[in-house]
C-alpha cells in the first residue's frame, strides 16, 4: 500500500472545511450543554422533592443511554411529530442535551463548593436572589468548574464525529464521502487522524494549562 502524496493537495482543504463544521458544532453544543446544565443545577437546588427526583431521573436516563441512539431519535423520530430541523441543528441539540447531563453534575458540585459564608454575606448585603447568583455565586463557580468544563468540551469535540451518522458533513463525514468516491481510504483516514489528533492534543494541553493555573 503506498501513500499517494499528491492526493493531500485535494484532501487537506476538504478536511479543513470539515474541521470548521466540527468546531462550529462542538462550540454550539457546549453552549447548549452549559446553558441547560446550569439551568438544571440551579433549579434542582431550590426544587422540592418530587421535582428533584424527576430531574435526577431524566439526568440519569440521558447519561445512561448512547448518544448515537439519542441522535437517531432526534433525527428520525422527532420530525414525525414536530417541525423538521436541519441536521446541524439536530446534532448540536443532541450533543448539547447529552452533555448537559454531565455538566449539571459538574455545576452542582461547583455550587456546593462555594462556601456557605458567601450566601450569608449576600443576605447581609441585602442582595436579592438574582443578584446573589449573578454577582457572587456564578463567578466563583466558573473558576471552580472551568477545567472540568474544558475537559467536557474535548469530549464533545471527539463525540461530534457521531454527527456524521445523521448526514452532518463535519470532518469525519467529509472523509467518509471523499474516501467513498475515490477509494483513497488510506490517505484520507490517515490525514483525518493526524488533524483530529493535533486539534485534540492542543485542546487537552490547553485545558491542562488552565487546570494548573486555576489550582
Amino acid at each position: 500500500m503506498n501513500f499517494d502524496l499528491n492526493s493531500i493537495n485535494v484532501i487537506l482543504p476538504l478536511l479543513l472545511q470539515g474541521l470548521k463544521v466540527t468546531v462550529i458544532a462542538s462550540t454550539g453544543a457546549v453552549i447548549v450543554a452549559i446553558a441547560l446544565g446550569l439551568l438544571i443545577a440551579i433549579v434542582r437546588r431550590s426544587a422540592g422533592r418530587a421535582l428533584r427526583l424527576a430531574i435526577d431521573t431524566v439526568v440519569t436516563v440521558v447519561r445512561s443511554t448512547p448518544l448515537l441512539v439519542q441522535l437517531y431519535l432526534l433525527f428520525y423520530v422527532l420530525p414525525l411529530y414536530g417541525p423538521a430541523m436541519s441536521p446541524m441543528t439536530t446534532g448540536i441539540l443532541g450533543l448539547g442535551i447529552h452533555y448537559c447531563a454531565y455538566l449539571s453534575e459538574v455545576f452542582r458540585a461547583g455550587i456546593d463548593a462555594v462556601p456557605k459564608g458567601q450566601w450569608e454575606a449576600a443576605i447581609a448585603l441585602q442582595f436579592n436572589r438574582l443578584q446573589t447568583w449573578r454577582r457572587l455565586i456564578i463567578p466563583q463557580v466558573v473558576r471552580i468548574v472551568l477545567p472540568q468544563v474544558g475537559n467536557y468540551f474535548i469530549s464533545i469535540y471527539k463525540h461530534s464525529s457521531l454527527l456524521a451518522t445523521i448526514t452532518v458533513v463535519e470532518i469525519l463525514g467529509t472523509t467518509l464521502n471523499y474516501a467513498g468516491e475515490t477509494f483513497r481510504y488510506f490517505e484520507a483516514f490517515t490525514l483525518l487522524g493526524i488533524i483530529y489528533f493535533i486539534v485534540g492534543f492542543s485542546l487537552s494541553r490547553t485545558v491542562g494549562y488552565l487546570e494548573r493555573r486555576l489550582a
Binding site: 500500500m1 440519569t60 436516563v61 447519561r63 445512561s64 443511554t65 448512547p66 448518544l67 448515537l68 441512539v69 439519542q70 437517531y72 431519535l73 428520525y76 423520530v77 414525525l80 469535540y157 471527539k158 463525540h159 461530534s160 464525529s161 457521531l162 456524521a164 451518522t165 469525519l172 472523509t175 467518509l176 474516501a179 481510504y185 488510506f186 483516514f189 490517515t190 483525518l192 487522524g193 483530529y196 489528533f197 485534540g200 492534543f201 485542546l203 487537552s204
Partner: protein, 227 residues
C-alpha cells in the same frame, strides 16, 4: 408497510432486538476485559523510572485520548485491511474499544497507585520485602479501591460506546434497530425500544456505581465492624 398492533409489533421485533442486545453485551464484556488488561499494563509501565519504557505507552495513551473513538473504529476498519491486517468486524470493534478505554483506564491505574502514601512503600522496604511483593501485597490492595469509582463510570461509558460498532456492520442492538426500521418503518417504536433496552442494560451498572460511590473511603474501617 404493516398493520400490526403495537403489542404484536413489539413481539415481532423482540427476537431481533434481543439478539442484538446480547451482541452488545458480548462486545462490552470482551472490550472491558481488554481495556482492563491494557490499562493495567500501561498504567504500571507509565510508573517506570525509565523514560524509554514510559515513552511508547505515553504515545499510545495520548494518541487514543486525543482522537475520537468513532474515528478510531473507522480507521481500523478501513485502513488495517489495506496494510494487510485482516480482522473481522467484531474483533476490530472490540480491539478499538479495548485500546480506547484502555488508555483511560491506564490513567486511573496510574493515579490510584500514586495516591498510595509513599510511607507504605518505605514500610515494605523496611521489612525487607521484594519490590514485587511490596507492589502486590501492599500497594495494589490499597490502590484498587481508589480505582473503583472511575472504573465503574468507564464501564457505563463503554456499554454506551458499543453502539458505535453498529457503524462497521456488527449486528448489535443499534444496528439491529436500524435494520428493523429499514424493513418495517415505524422508527418511533423501534428506536424507543432500542433506547429502553440500553437503559435497562445500564441500570445495574448505574446502581453499582451509586453503591461504590457511597462506600468510597470507608473500605478498611468496615471490615471488622461488620463481623
Amino acid at each position: 408497510m404493516n398493520d400490526y398492533s403495537l403489542t404484536e409489533f413489539l413481539m415481532r421485533i423482540a427476537p431481533a432486538l434481543g439478539r442484538g442486545a446480547l451482541v452488545s453485551i458480548e462486545v462490552a464484556l470482551v472490550s472491558a476485559v481488554g481495556a482492563l488488561l491494557i490499562g493495567f499494563v500501561t498504567g504500571l509501565a507509565r510508573l517506570s523510572p525509565h523514560w524509554y519504557v514510559r515513552l511508547p505507552f505515553v504515545a499510545y495513551v495520548e494518541l487514543f485520548r486525543s482522537t475520537s473513538s468513532l474515528v478510531q473504529i473507522f480507521y481500523f476498519f478501513y485502513v488495517l485491511p489495506l496494510v494487510g491486517i485482516r480482522l473481522d468486524a467484531f474483533l476490530t470493534g472490540a480491539l478499538v474499544l479495548s485500546l480506547n478505554f484502555g488508555a483511560y483506564v491506564s490513567e486511573v491505574v496510574r493515579s490510584a497507585v500514586q495516591s498510595v502514601n509513599p510511607g507504605q512503600w518505605q514500610a515494605g522496604v523496611a521489612l525487607n520485602m521484594e519490590r514485587a511483593q511490596i507492589f502486590r501485597r501492599i500497594i495494589l490492595p490499597q490502590a484498587f479501591p481508589v480505582m473503583l469509582p472511575a472504573l465503574g463510570n468507564y464501564a457505563l461509558e463503554l456499554l454506551k460506546a458499543t453502539s458505535l460498532v453498529s457503524l462497521i456492520t456488527i449486528t448489535e442492538l443499534t444496528f439491529a434497530g436500524s435494520q428493523l426500521v429499514q424493513f418495517y418503518g415505524r422508527p418511533t417504536t423501534i428506536y424507543l425500544a432500542v433506547f429502553t433496552i440500553y437503559l435497562v442494560m445500564a441500570l445495574p451498572l448505574v446502581a453499582l456505581n451509586h453503591h461504590i460511590e457511597r462506600r468510597a473511603g470507608g473500605v478498611w474501617q468496615g471490615k471488622v465492624r461488620h463481623k
